[in-house]
Symmetry: D2
Subunit: 218 residues, 4 copies
């Protein structure tokens, strides 16, 4: 968003600081389930480039013992658990628990020891125990990937900051169905909630800190 | 946001539905504390028009017995409660508990029986008991006013939907320090989280439903 | 718990008030899944009498259009979502998602339109969107049944109060694996969090308020 | 609680495991505000011994750079923020924000850099940003002290486990107004949520791990 007024005003308000990065990162992949990464689903779009960029970071994380957490959205057939959201976005009703759209996109190669958090709302924290999962793993930094930038990624970025997890958002690893909301939300995220970086910078960060012994299998 | 691609794509994804309005509304005024409504504060800006538009709705609500809830942001001097947010927005440290910037703007005429929720993060729900307050009051619809559109209003709109409260956002009653983020966030809110309406429509809604006996003083 | 000192001290501290009952109740059945109602599971015990008493209330609620919500506990095979709880209660690992122990006890005749909330912790609110479900249904009173009295029922009773839902706990409808913790927790619940009543009183309450049109099928 | 049936049944259910202790502890002191430690307040009782035992641990923690967090309860004069709890415990209305009962007991020597979390409910997590505070401080273990054992300590112990923080409860550092609920709740806490230990064991733990540089003053 090339908006000069906003940049000038935000500089004066001293927005856009930098978060302190830790040494125990996790990768959080929000809603790269088939319903969002396959254009055949009403709420989906083609996110091939974003999935591939995310895979680059997943390879580094897996090689170095950093945990990976996925989220997906899925509802009961009675939709009692979908709440108000289906009033604003009725096509969410297609995301039926047990169905294909809820599965994590197979291109991401999700492993058995990587948690899949089933969520009902926009934020990965709402109605889930994600915070406890990150605390249990002693995570002190999150790399946030996924879809959509203006929806669940934005809502999750706000909650990551609120819950105390410094966050990097690699811009190539988050996608949306339309360009303008994607850019507008990256602008907001960088100004107030997380550090928007390149996938190169995120990879360099993961490679520049000590590897971690993987958590023992349960 | 005059972005034709976004509008076309969003129509195809069936975004932008309409929430079901109830009969027990509350007005939620987010962060119209002096720190945000006074340009003399680093994070503030001139929101006179938005405060006046909000006052129009407050007058209707008070006359008809609908509850009003305010939020503000305030931190301890040690800033332990400010978390990561001051890394991204260091000027938030000016919002000291007990100080002037934390007071609700006196132009809003806050009454003794109107709760002020002290929050630490962007969303009015994070780290507060706002949900319990709304449940106790049997609120089934929220009119969301306040600042800033791209910050605490947006974060609160997402959480209102997630927590089950149908929400109207009167566009004249929410303000921001810069124009582009204001518009971009109203676009997102209308597409996915709440109904963006005119202050006239919000006033007509409040006047068109039965008045409510005010909650008894404690 | 016939403890005279506690009763005298609690009377002086003015504990044990009575919650205000509303007219839109829901029945919340906590963890009457097979893992807790079948003694063959390590964490289970024989709760036949409690299941039957609960069925009496379910019959009234279903006939009169009051919503019913169930909870169960289930974990991924990697147990990443089980957190610390399996350190204190390692047998919880038997509650595998997709397995028999997670199913709601078939004697309760759960209907398709009755939500099943999958939880990971003790409270039915932790890591779930139960609050939003109750708000969406405009519930203003909860009848709390289930197991165990000293575990998930107690934790849920505390959270129901905190979240703003007046609660009745019919003593015949909640069960535990041991007698003393059952009684001690009913004492605490009655003193501080909810009204412990007989199943007769709960049934009379449900029969004495207007019936409700069932929520439309989605 | 010398209840043989409960002990036998709990052993068979494999309750009462041991939490894994970390190396970055915090001391959490729940509701040792004057309203609870002064018998002159309706909800208070004489907790001199418990305050003194807690002071022993605070001295070790302060000397070794481990953070200390206090909680208190305080309500607005309109009591809108008190919710349902004042129906069960009407004397809570005495805990007025700005008044003496809300102050942390001066015998604990609270320092300027030690956070005071103002809570509205039983659990120190409900309606507060305590989880974010602990995450920001990279806390991996909590020593839980305070009052009352059967109320806010129990509710907080459940939430500490749920949020992922291994917890020790030194039995001499938690107090209640009556003996039986105190003992019954320590039994439940040890069985399911945290490790109940002696104050000696808690002190030895704090002395046996590396000291920590105090967090820089903001």
């Amino acid at each position: 968003m090339s908006d000069e007024q906003a940049h000038a005003v935000y500089a004066q308000a001293r927005l856009g600081g930098r978060v302190t990065r830790g040494t125990r990162p996790a990768i959080l992949v929000v809603d790269f389930c088939c319903g969002f990464t396959d254009p055949a689903c009403t709420v989906g779009s083609d996110l091939t480039a974003e999935v591939e960029a995310t895979n680059r970071l997943l390879a580094v994380a897996r090689a170095r013992g950093f945990p990976v957490v996925f989220t997906t959205i899925g509802y009961e057939s009675n939709l009692r658990d979908a709440g108000l959201w289906i009033e604003k976005m009725p096509a969410l009703a297609e995301l039926a628990l047990g169905g294909h759209w809820v599965d994590i996109d197979s291109r991401l190669g999700r492993r058995e020891d990587e948690t899949v958090v089933v969520k009902k709302g926009a934020s990965a924290f709402f109605g889930t125990n994600l915070s406890a999962i990150l605390v249990n793993l002693h995570v002190d930094t999150v790399i946030l990937c996924g879809a959509t930038t203006s929806g669940c990624v934005r809502a999750t970025a706000v909650d990551l900051l609120q819950h105390g997890f410094p966050t990097l958002v690699p811009r190539e690893c988050v996608g949306d169905r339309a360009r303008a909301p994607h850019e507008a939300n990256l602008f907001d995220i960088q100004a107030k909630y997380a550090d928007v970086v390149s996938v190169d910078e995120a990879a360099a960060y993961l490679e520049g800190i000590p590897a971690r012994a993987p958590a023992p299998a349960a």
